[in-house]
């Protein structure tokens, strides 16, 4: 007999995520998440979200033109990423997944550097220490443990709880809803809790892990899991840049002060497919995507800025020019990315090349420089 198909489990009811900026662009306050608007640069948030989206759009176009092998789009998640990134101090360390283009942008990376991994010119592409932004990690959840280890180092370096704003440091680890199911993420939560480490886990719950809806991963909101480990969890509207900023500021402040870890669940949506190689129409209804598109994070911030007059028209016209410049920079920069040196894999496998590997390098370079011999080999 065929097994009986069971209905998917109901997700437990929960309070709506905390929101400070609704989908029409109207501000509100919430006692659980105080935010002093005098400390918020709305124009910069809007600029960074807009340019991040443009970066994403251009990268998708470059993939379609064959310039990139693949691109994981962040469209729809700009508020979560830019909000979280604006809560960072320079010395804080970020451990991203592979979709944090908005955080990378805010950390000051050359946006062209983000393309190398997807063009095949590099496996990394930037200096993780210079920007306090680690390389992208493709193995789901693996980076959460690196964040924990880095936080253990901070604890040993007396880099938390001193009260010195230039010294106190925290770690911000990004993960997705799929990573919640990985054993390594569980270990990271256990270690962070048991050692009260200065690490903030920022989960962008974008509802889909490739084709698996959130109900495949969990019956409760991600933020509720934190209580089981013994640290605070907070659930915010991930399409609300102010809620994301406020929650991350609060959590990073606690971490830097020695107050330990926090799990932030930013409830958002991956408006595009998982990557340019994916076809989301095979597993999710268009109506769902349209519904989330109506909660677009950029549109609500723009509506707020326009309705309150918080910025002048110049802001928007300047931004359009910056978008065009960025697009041009990406198109030209992508094609100008240096081809990798065939010696580079050999040179960077170990601190010093072992003798046998040096011999392999010699043979490989000779093969590469000679090329195929006419008539001998195809």
């Amino acid at each position: 007999m065929a097994p009986t198909e069971t209905a998917p489990p109901e997700t437990a009811p929960s309070d709506p995520p905390i929101q400070l900026l609704d989908r029409s662009g109207k501000l509100s306050t919430d006692d659980r998440l105080p935010l002093d608007l005098a400390t918020v640069d709305l124009a910069t948030l809007h600029r960074d979200m807009t340019l991040t989206r443009r970066l994403d759009t251009e990268a998708i176009a470059l993939q379609r033109q064959g310039e990139l092998g693949l691109w994981p789009s962040l469209r729809g998640q700009e508020a979560a990423q830019v909000g979280a990134a604006h809560a960072l101090r320079r010395q804080d360390m970020v451990f991203p997944t592979y979709r944090e283009h908005g955080v990378a942008w805010c950390r000051g990376l050359d946006p062209v550097a983000l393309l190398g991994l997807f063009r095949g010119t590099t496996l990394g592409g930037w200096d993780p220490y210079a920007h306090h932004f680690n390389l992208y990690t493709l193995v789901i959840g693996a980076q959460t443990l690196h964040a924990v280890g880095y936080a253990m180092g901070l604890h040993r370096d007396d880099s938390t709880g001193t009260g010195d704003p230039d010294r106190d440091t925290a770690v911000l680890a990004f993960l997705g809803d799929g990573a919640l199911s990985e054993g390594e993420t569980n270990e990271a939560f256990v270690w962070a809790a048991a050692q009260n480490l200065p690490v903030v886990f920022f989960c962008q719950n974008n509802q889909w892990a490739i084709s698996a809806p959130y109900s495949v991963q969990s019956r409760i909101p991600a933020a509720q899991r934190a209580a089981g480990y013994g640290f605070p969890g907070i659930r915010v509207d991930g399409n609300d840049v102010l809620a994301c900023l406020a929650a991350t500021r609060q959590a990073l402040h606690r971490a830097r002060s020695g107050g330990g870890p926090t799990l932030i669940e930013a409830v958002t949506y991956r408006l595009n497919a998982h990557t340019t190689a994916d076809d989301a129409t095979r597993y999710r209804p268009a109506a769902e995507t349209e519904d989330w598109a109506a909660r677009d994070p950029l549109e609500r911030l723009e509506a707020h800025l326009r309705s309150t007059g918080a910025v002048t028209d110049d802001h928007f016209t300047d931004l359009e020019q910056r978008e065009r410049d960025l697009a041009e920079q990406l198109r030209a920069g992508c094609r100008e990315l240096a081809e990798p040196d065939p010696a580079s894999p050999f040179e960077h496998t170990y601190a010093q090349i072992p003798a046998d590997l040096r011999q392999q390098l010699r043979e490989h370079l000779e093969f590469v420089s000679t090329g195929p011999q006419d008539g001998e080999r195809q």
């Binding site: 990394g124 993780p128 390389l135 280890g149 880095y150 936080a151 390594e184």
Partner: protein
């Protein structure tokens, strides 16, 4: 050997404040084999860390600590318990230098008590060395004497690459002299007794077995040279080739399974580079292509003196 490792780790902790030890039960208890005995008391619980029970966590956290400038030495309690950490070791630890084009250096040591012969239960007698030797970016070494244990653990800690440090647990209680001066380089094989008729290549737990076989063979008038590889990745082809170049015969010994084992690598390199000097095929004496057996079968399952002597006979029969 336990004392030698303990002394070596103590020296490493003393020499460099960035060195720290982490693992399950290594602090209060001093490790299930007591390799870290007394170190927590002397260096504190921030440098000798009792971790939660999670092997991926131990290696993953060590990566983050190394990125913050530390030199973590991880203990994975038994060979059969390394696999939960395999993802972190293979996809992250081994690859981050390469991924970062040399910007990220991860001086992490992973100590693993390994090998059989102690009458233990499942998962406590395995030889996982080739999984790691086959992974670019890792170094894999194993000691066979207290002298090497003392020096090699310090060299592994000082190395800027990740090192899988395999400790032959059945020789933990072996006694031996330590010469504190001038250790061999970490990646260098050592010729234990010199000989002229046949070269036996061994490492870690099988070195004392090979030495015993060499002594028995000597009584039969055969001069056996034993090469202790010490390092499996990279491995010292120069020393092995020079030996086989002279003897013309090679026997490789390991506890790990036969097929795809390290012996296959040694045999392939010798036939490739010493083809004209080989008088006989390279013979392998190894564990079998089965999971590790119940302990009551292990003494015959493991490569022992008699099987090595048979292999020497076979090599000399050509």
């Amino acid at each position: 050997m336990v004392k030698a490792l303990n002394d070596g780790l103590r020296q490493a902790l003393t020499d460099d404040p960035k060195v720290l030890l982490m693992g399950e039960d290594i602090g209060r208890l001093g490790g299930v084999f007591r390799v870290t005995d007394g170190l927590r008391k002397d260096f504190g619980d921030l440098r000798v860390v009792d971790t939660p029970l999670g092997e991926a966590g131990i290696v993953g956290a060590a990566i983050g600590l190394a990125m913050r400038g530390y030199r973590p030495v991880c203990e994975l309690q038994f060979d059969g318990f390394v696999y939960p950490a395999a993802n972190q070791i293979i996809t992250q630890l081994a690859k981050l230098r390469h991924r970062s084009a040399g910007r990220i250096s991860l001086p992490v040591v992973i100590r693993i008590p390994y090998g059989g012969g102690i009458g233990s239960i499942e998962h406590h007698s395995e030889s996982p060395e080739t999984y790691f030797a086959h992974t670019a970016g890792l170094k894999v070494v194993t000691c066979s004497t207290p002298h090497d244990a003392f020096h090699m653990i310090q060299q592994a800690v000082a190395d800027d690459d990740p090192v899988v440090f395999l400790e032959p647990k059945r020789h933990y209680w072996t006694k031996g002299e330590i010469d504190p001066s001038s250790p061999q380089p970490l990646d260098r094989a050592v010729v234990r007794p010199e000989g002229t008729d046949v070269t036996v290549i061994a490492y870690g737990p099988t070195v004392p077995v090979a030495l015993e076989a060499a002594e028995v063979a000597a009584e039969e008038g055969r001069s056996v040279e034993v090469v202790d590889l010490r390092s499996l990745s990279p491995w010292d082809t120069t020393t092995v080739r020079a030996s086989v170049h002279r003897t013309g015969r090679a026997v490789v010994v390991h506890e790990a399974a036969h097929s795809h084992g390290f012996g296959a690598e040694v045999a392939a390199r010798l036939q490739d580079e010493e083809f004209h000097f080989l008088e006989a095929p390279v013979v392998r004496v190894t564990g079998y292509d089965t999971p590790y057996p119940p302990s009551r079968l292990e003494s015959d399952w493991l490569p022992g003196v008699d099987r090595i002597l048979n292999a020497i006979d076979r090599s000399l029969s050509y």
